[in-house]
């Protein structure tokens, strides 16, 4: 009897203990928090948000300071203004976002799954977004991973910049073909694509403008690209059909410039002297559209030097205007004005220059500002300067102004700070990427003495 009690208790104990074994199984290792599959619409939602952050965040502010549309006032942006490139890891976020979630890896997922479903509209839109992301990276870093990027290759090799641009042009051609396809299964993202509502013809025009943009990027090397750019620009974005980033006044959808200026880093960046003076000198109405008056006196507009060495204070320097600093400001990124100014520059610079056409395209843009048109007397370098200056103003807050400057050295800047003779021409490859990817062994060409392939001639 007593032994019976003892051993039944022992058995009970063991059975409780051993029953635990069943609880270690494959099910427990599955993540209960996140889905293992994603629809194209959910991936597109992320990809759009990623694109908008990349086009409005750190890199855009950096270019704004370097191109003297902004000035660095404090802390990290004083370093930016002083051309402190460090190891380039300051801009790692932009680099990584090109390829990672919401970037290339997901845009490729969208393309392959929508093509499988026969929805070439969806694939076409994703392809255009891919080109935009990678084209931006190629412009900044030069040779970048592309053909092997976001594939199963662990250490994607650098593709020569020229080859990347070639691939992007081909990619845009196929995107345009996809978008032109009218098959019954071409549903596209419709309203989930928040800028053009999934409209295929608007996306085709967007793709044509991007073709023109990326031909311009290589034109310093390959002059024939001016002619190609002209052809595609003429098929590009029409007035009123700009690609403006979608934002609302809800914080999680609000403009990154707004978030940065109002909350994240007060007074780190303010107005830049060069652009403020340019707008003041020409009584350009965009002075008030872009910038606010100084806090001390709103009728006074003052911009600072890139490195803040101007004696201005928080009270005596202009910032972004209320319009540009609004949470729901729809940031213009790929526009009719850019398209027109590409037409102008391409006409001016192509093998058989057509200054009249160039002037006409410039005047189309000036009329919308409105600013007085450029007369027939403005020719040669003065005309190019007028075109590039206008583009510099029109493309305020975008990184294209940096690319334009490296190609044309216009408008002419004095480099800052002392000790530097010219603006940075590229970003070094970020340390994190060099650390992890043996295919990228060094920071690349010197950012001041050596440029990317598409920038053979340094500006003075």
């Amino acid at each position: 009897m007593r032994n019976g009690v003892r051993f039944s208790l022992l058995a009970l104990g063991l059975s409780i203990a051993v029953s635990g074994c069943d609880l270690t199984g494959p099910k427990l290792s599955d993540n209960p928090n996140d889905p293992s599959a994603a629809s194209n619409v959910s991936l597109l939602s992320s990809a759009q948000a990623n694109l908008w952050v990349q086009s409005e965040a750190d890199l855009a502010r950096t270019v704004c300071v370097w191109l003297q549309q902004c000035s660095g006032r404090q802390s990290q942006y004083l370093s930016v203004g002083n051309y402190s490139l460090g190891d380039g890891d300051f801009w790692f976020q932009n680099y990584a976002a090109t390829y990672g979630g919401g970037g290339l890896i997901d845009l490729r997922r969208i393309q392959s799954s929508s093509l499988q479903a026969g929805d070439s509209t969806f694939a076409g839109i994703a392809a255009v977004m891919e080109v935009w992301l990678v084209g931006t990276a190629a412009d900044i870093w030069g040779d970048v991973p592309y053909s092997q990027a976001a594939t199963s290759v662990a250490n994607p090799a650098l593709d020569p910049q020229q080859q990347v641009y070639d691939h992007l042009q081909a990619k845009l051609d196929s995107a345009i073909a996809f978008l032109s396809d009218t098959g019954g299964r071409n549903v596209g993202p419709k309203g989930a694509e928040l800028v053009y509502g999934g409209n295929d013809s608007l996306w085709i025009r967007m793709a044509e403008t991007l073709k023109a943009r990326y031909f311009m990027h290589v034109a310093e090397r390959i002059p024939a690209a001016y002619d190609s750019a002209l052809v595609h620009a003429q098929l590009g974005i029409r007035q009123g059909q700009d690609y403006n980033n979608y934002h609302t006044s809800v914080l999680t959808s609000s403009n990154i410039w707004f978030q940065f200026f109002t909350t994240a880093a007060l007074n780190y960046v303010a107005a830049g002297q060069f652009l403020v003076d340019q707008l003041k000198n020409t009584s350009d109405p965009r002075l008030r559209e872009y910038y606010s008056g100084t806090p001390v006196d709103t009728t006074v507009f003052a911009g600072g030097l890139p490195d803040g060495s101007d004696g201005l204070t928080a009270g005596t320097i202009s910032s972004l205007s209320a319009t540009r600093e609004a949470p729901d400001f729809q940031q213009p990124l790929v526009t009719w004005a850019e398209t027109q100014l590409i037409i102008a520059e391409a006409n001016f610079s192509k093998a058989a220059p057509d200054e009249a056409a160039a002037r006409a395209a410039l005047n189309n843009v000036l009329a919308t500002v409105p600013m007085p048109p450029v007369g027939g007397g403005v020719t040669g370098p003065a005309l190019l300067n007028a075109i590039m200056t206008e583009k510099y103003i029109q493309l305020f807050q975008t990184i294209e102004v940096w690319s334009d400057y490296r190609r044309t050295c216009l408008p002419a800047f004095t480099a800052f700070p002392t000790g530097y003779t010219r603006l940075p021409r590229r970003l070094p490859y970020p340390l994190q990427e060099r650390n992890a990817n043996p295919s990228i062994p060094d920071p690349g060409p010197d950012p001041f003495t050596g440029g990317n392939w598409n920038d053979p001639n340094p500006c003075p």
Binding site: I16, L23, V53, Q76, G101, A149, L251, N267, P417
Partner: protein, 1104 residues
């Protein structure tokens, strides 16, 4: 404060009760237990082992043991054994009679604790002399002397190579513990805590980790580590299992060591009561040096604040935003300035009341305790406090002669409210120390309209209800925002201890540990740190559940008189679940309350579940040969849900041997009374975190700008999913640490001293790291068993007892630990990030260096192959060519002639240049740590002290580096002075500008001598310190008045001080600091961190 007043009343009631256990009829044995010198020994047990009966001595050494009449007849003889810690047990045979029998014991000292049983994990025990590994034991006396409520903090300086870092002096702030160096890269890894056989949660979670801004534990407030729920008065003793051989019985959970906590229990005999009340005053003694000579402004130009015009209406407002910098002109004589370095501090108070009662009879024993702890912190304002109520009921009952069952339940309610800290525009010290000297922070509200004003925003009006104040006024931070934690915790287990057959013993424990914590962080409108200065509410619910089942069978055998041993076999099942749900609302609709429904925009909520199961089988065999050689071997076989599917199970072996060689050598004329050599080898593991291998898309995510702004992945009403930046891991295994430990324990000079020495080397392989992968592959990291880390070190402890007289005793204890951490491999990567402040003070693990090394920017120095821009835009100027060979070797500071430029241009001849490349600056790890403990007893008075020493290791004084840029650091008073860099920086210089004196102007300070200028090196300081961690004077009052008039057995008085003095070269607020708390592994980073406090403690104990 009701809780404080009520406890003494309860105590008095309890003490007024008659001693309960006398009720039973039987035979009474009384007596006194003393030392050989005649000192009464308190808390000694007197037991009749054969009957399972026992009693405990009171403070005067007297005991009363009642034997039920049914169990023994008059005339029978029973064997009594008296035991006390640090004394040799003594046995006496007593013939019982119907009348009271007296049996006194006089125990010989046993400072080496030979013969005492040590808990060794999973229910196993072993005698001290048989242990093959070093023993580190902390008993209740030492815990009580520490005056710490958090048992982790209480372990500071108690054992060699057990490094405890308390993060801050904030009430309830977490402490982290690291044993024998870092052997994992999982930054939140802490040792496994086991309380009475039940593993308990000791996690630390910061509320703002989940607010979506990505700054996580660098901001918000200091949360507690969950071991704080344990009432330290309940603890009998703590065993620290350091090495892999000792911890191996816990297999895959023992990788960071194991802390075995045993709580007090009841003994049969008269019920004893103890009431202890402690009050302490806490204050801050170290402050940064700030200048009070120059006012607000920049470039020497005053700019207090300039009125802003409303852009929409063009009305001029009184509101104005001024510069946050103090680079203005000299403050005119007569202008009041304020002491911003110390004005936000006050003296905080702590009260702690604990009541315990224990007792029992021949079959049943019980222990109950209740405690109320309250602490107000050292910052002004009402949001700086921690309250904890803790209760425990522990009992056991002998069902039959062969079966005893027990239960142990503890409940605690821990509530705290904290102040915003560190890297945070609302951080209290950031706002305090950056403030310009002429601004009166105390007037944090506008006297007319009651709005939040700060030095950069002094005149707010209704128009600026939604504007940031630059940095929040520290008094606003102290008084207005809330950040509360409300945790309720229940830990309980039932156990059975059976001896069905004489040689077989079976233990079974089934327990649960549950805690639920509701967090609220409310930041008011105008808070500068919130994504919109319209206020923010974060609510977070955390629940943590752990279930443990453990069965152990132990068989004893005796082969011959010269060979005996045990064989144990056990099985262990453990299941843990960590659930949280949190939401952040931005934009308060009305100024209060801080509730989510009072916010305009609620971010996507964060919810997650993490469940981990582990099943282990373990076996252990011991063999004792010739009573001098003790062998032990163990094996554990673990399966866990977080091991990869290909490696579901893993083996963890261990073996140890101890040889008491003095059995052979003799005692060498009393010079060596005891000598044991020991060797141990073991393997332990660290489990991978859950779900690293699962291939999922991220939901509820966002895309962020490095400065904090972000867009949600969900836009326009469409849910966004995207590929996470961490690539799914394949085939993860537990991290494995293999450790060899050698040592000796010696009793010297007739036991007047004892010395213990240990050497160890542990190799941790398969350490899981987020291997950086090429970002161009679409991912940034992949978890893999990639890294290899080695730790090797020595540990010494020496105890000396020069005087052991009845009325006068003196003892001294020294401990010393060294550990060398060495990262041997990181799977190809040169370094991986290991916490830190992000842009500044980055900490990394680097190959060839150690875990936690600092990676930062430096000046241009000789010997690094640096090429500079020679003025033509080309990097043609070699620094090394302009330094001597000697200077190249020493990395001497290079000063240029003004024609060459570094990363940030340059200021000209004689000024330093910035190096554009980040370099390893050094390690926060100390070269050695140690402590000296002493205690002197004269009659009833005991004076004791503990001095804690940390030698070496860098601290990043980022606070100073930032305050230099802000213009408030004391050193910026040198502005305008002319000096050579050699004298300013205090180091030799080379190069053409080496001897050139330069003007220390604003540009130099801000752009070439501040953390904001891509420069860190000058702000890494020697973090060595010597701390008078504890000092106390205690008096135990016994005697007739106490026993006959007060009806007590003793009254204890104690006056103590904690952290009374710190000797350090460190110029910041405290070299013991951890800005991100125990949640992060970051060590040695000081960024506006809240300081430690000094305490004066008074305690009164009534015992019966």
């Amino acid at each position: 404060m009701l809780h404080i007043r009520r406890w003494p009343i309860i105590a008095v009631l309890a003490l007024a009760l008659p001693a309960a256990a006398h009720a039973q009829q039987g035979i009474t044995i009384i007596g006194q237990v003393t030392s050989e010198e005649g000192t009464p020994i308190a808390s000694a047990t007197v037991q009749i082992t054969t009957l399972g009966l026992g009693s405990v001595t009171r403070a005067d050494g007297h005991y009363t043991l009642v034997v039920p009449a049914s169990r023994v007849q008059p005339g029978e003889s029973v064997t009594l054994t008296a035991r006390a810690i640090n004394y040799k047990p003594q046995t006496a045979s007593v013939v019982v009679t119907a009348a009271e029998v007296t049996q006194d014991f006089s125990l010989a000292a046993n400072p080496l604790q030979l013969g005492e049983l040590v808990v060794t994990g999973q229910g196993t025990t072993q005698e001290v002399e048989k242990l093959g590994n070093v023993r580190n034991n902390v008993d209740s006396t030492l815990l009580q002397r520490s005056n710490e409520q958090n048992i982790v903090t209480a372990l500071a300086a108690k054992a060699p190579n057990v490094e405890v870092t308390s993060t801050a002096g904030d009430p309830g702030a977490s402490s982290s513990i690291r044993i024998r160096g870092a052997n994992t890269l999982n930054t939140a890894s802490e040792p496994l805590f086991i309380v009475d056989g039940m593993p308990i949660d000791n996690s630390t979670v910061t509320t703002s980790t989940y607010d979506g801004t990505g700054f996580g534990n660098q901001q918000g407030t200091f949360p507690p580590n969950r071991a704080i729920d344990l009432n330290s008065d309940d603890i009998e003793s703590i065993e620290i299992l350091k090495g892999a051989a000792a911890g191996s019985i816990y297999g895959a959970r023992a990788g960071q060591g194991v802390i075995l906590v045993t709580t007090k229990k009841g003994h049969s005999g008269p019920t004893s009561f103890s009431f202890r009340t402690t009050v302490s005053a806490n204050d801050v003694t170290r402050f940064p040096e700030l200048q009070r000579t120059y006012g607000q402004g920049e470039g020497g130009v005053a700019e207090a604040c300039v009125p802003i015009t409303n852009l929409a209406t063009q009305d001029s407002l009184v509101d104005c935003l001024g510069t946050t910098r103090s680079w203005g002109p000299a403050i005119p004589a007569g202008t009041p300035t304020y002491d911003h370095s110390r004005e936000v501090f006050r003296t905080g108070f702590t009260t702690d009341n604990t009541l315990t009662a224990s007792g029992g009879n021949d079959r049943t024993t019980f222990y109950i305790s209740g405690s109320a702890f309250y602490q107000s912190g050292t910052f002004v304002g009402p949001h700086n406090n921690f309250t904890r109520y803790a209760f425990r009921l522990k009992g056991d009952h002998r069902l039959t002669n062969w079966l005893k069952v027990g239960g142990n339940v503890a409940y605690s309610a821990a509530n705290g409210d904290g102040v915003q800290k560190t890297s945070n525009f609302s951080g209290i010290l950031l706002g305090s120390w950056r403030a310009t000297p002429t601004f009166d922070n105390r007037q944090y509200l506008d006297p007319v309209n009651g709005m939040h004003r700060s030095y950069a925003f002094p005149n707010p009006s209704a128009n600026s209800a939604d504007l940031s104040r630059g940095y929040d006024n520290p008094f606003f931070t102290a008084n207005v925002p809330v950040s509360t934690t409300n945790a309720n915790r229940v830990t309980g287990n039932i156990s059975a201890d059976a001896t069905p057959i004489g040689w077989l013993r079976i233990n079974y424990t089934l327990g649960v540990d549950y805690s639920g914590d509701n967090r609220l962080q409310g930041q008011p409108q105008t808070s500068s740190n919130t994504p919109l200065p319209l206020g923010q509410v974060i609510q977070l619910g955390i629940s943590n559940t752990q279930i443990e089942s453990n069965i152990l069978g132990t068989a004893s055998f005796k082969l011959s008189p010269k060979a005996s041993g045990t064989f144990s076999l056990g099985q262990n099942f453990n299941s843990r679940s960590f659930d949280l749900i949190g939401a952040t609302g931005n934009g308060l609709i009305a100024p209060t309350p801080y509730s989510l429904r009072n916010t305009a925009q609620i971010n996507p909520p964060v919810d997650s579940v993490a469940k981990v199961n582990i099943v282990g089988f373990y076996g252990q065999a011991t063999l004792d040969l010739y009573q001098q050689l003790f062998l032990k071997g163990g094996l554990r076989y673990d399966g866990a849900s977080t091991f990869g599917q290909d490696n579901l199970r893993a083996w963890f072996p261990s073996a140890s041997a101890a040889w008491q060689f003095t059995k052979v050598t003799g005692n060498l004329n009393g010079m060596l009374t005891y000598g044991k050599a020991r060797v141990a080898y073991g393997e332990v593991g660290t489990q991978p975190p859950p779900y690293l291998g699962s291939n999922t898309f991220l939901g509820g995510g966002s895309f962020a700008d490095p400065f904090g702004p972000f867009l949600s992945a969900s836009q326009g009403g469409n849910g966004g999913l995207f590929t996470p930046n961490v690539k799914p891991a394949t085939g993860l295994e537990p991290e494995r640490t293999k450790e060899l430990e050698l040592g000796a324990d010696l009793g010297l000079f007739k036991d007047y001293a004892d010395l213990s020495f240990t050497w160890y080397q542990k190799n941790s392989t398969g350490v899981i790291l987020q291997v950086p992968v090429a970002a161009s592959s679409g991912y940034q990291f992949q978890s893999a068993n990639g890294a290899e880390i080695q730790n090797a070190g020595t540990e010494w402890s020496l105890n000396v007892r020069p005087i052991t007289k009845r009325d006068f005793a003196w003892d001294l204890g020294f401990i010393l630990g060294t550990n060398r951490n060495h990262v041997k491999s990181l799977t190809g990567a040169q370094f991986v990030s290991y916490g830190g402040l992000g842009a500044f003070g980055l900490t990394v693990a680097d190959v060839g260096g150690s875990v936690g090394d600092f990676l930062d920017y430096d000046y241009v120095r000789c010997g690094r192959g640096i090429m500079l821009d020679d003025g033509t835009g080309n990097q043609n100027y070699s620094v090394d060519a302009n330094c001597t060979a000697d200077q190249n070797k020493k990395h001497t500071l290079f000063l240029p002639d003004g024609t060459v430029a570094g990363a940030n241009g340059g200021l000209g001849q004689g000024y330093p240049l910035l190096d554009g490349e980040k370099r390893i600056i050094g390690s926060p790890d100390p070269k050695w740590t140690g402590s000296v403990r002493t205690s002197v007893r004269y009659k009833g008075v005991t004076v004791s002290a503990l001095v804690d020493v940390r030698h070496g290791g860098l601290i990043y004084n980022g606070t100073k580096g930032a305050l230099v840029e802000l213009g408030t650091a004391k050193i910026t008073e040198k502005r305008g002075q002319t000096e050579t860099m050699t004298s300013f920086l205090g180091e030799p210089a080379a190069g053409p500008g080496a001897a050139t004196p330069v003007v220390l102007d604003e540009s130099f300070f801000r752009n070439f001598y501040s953390t904001f200028a891509l420069l860190g090196q000058p702000f890494y300081e020697d973090g060595s310190y010597t701390k008078l961690r504890e000092i106390s004077v205690g008096y135990t009052w016994t005697g007739k008045f106490v026993s006959q008039t007060l009806h007590l057995s003793s009254v204890d008085f104690r006056v103590a001080g904690r952290n009374l003095a710190v000797w350090t070269k460190y110029s910041g607020i405290d070299p013991e600091t951890s800005f991100a708390g125990a949640e992060s592994g970051t060590r040695g980073v000081d960024w506006f961190n809240n300081p430690q406090a000094r305490s004066f403690v008074f305690s009164l104990g009534l015992n019966r």
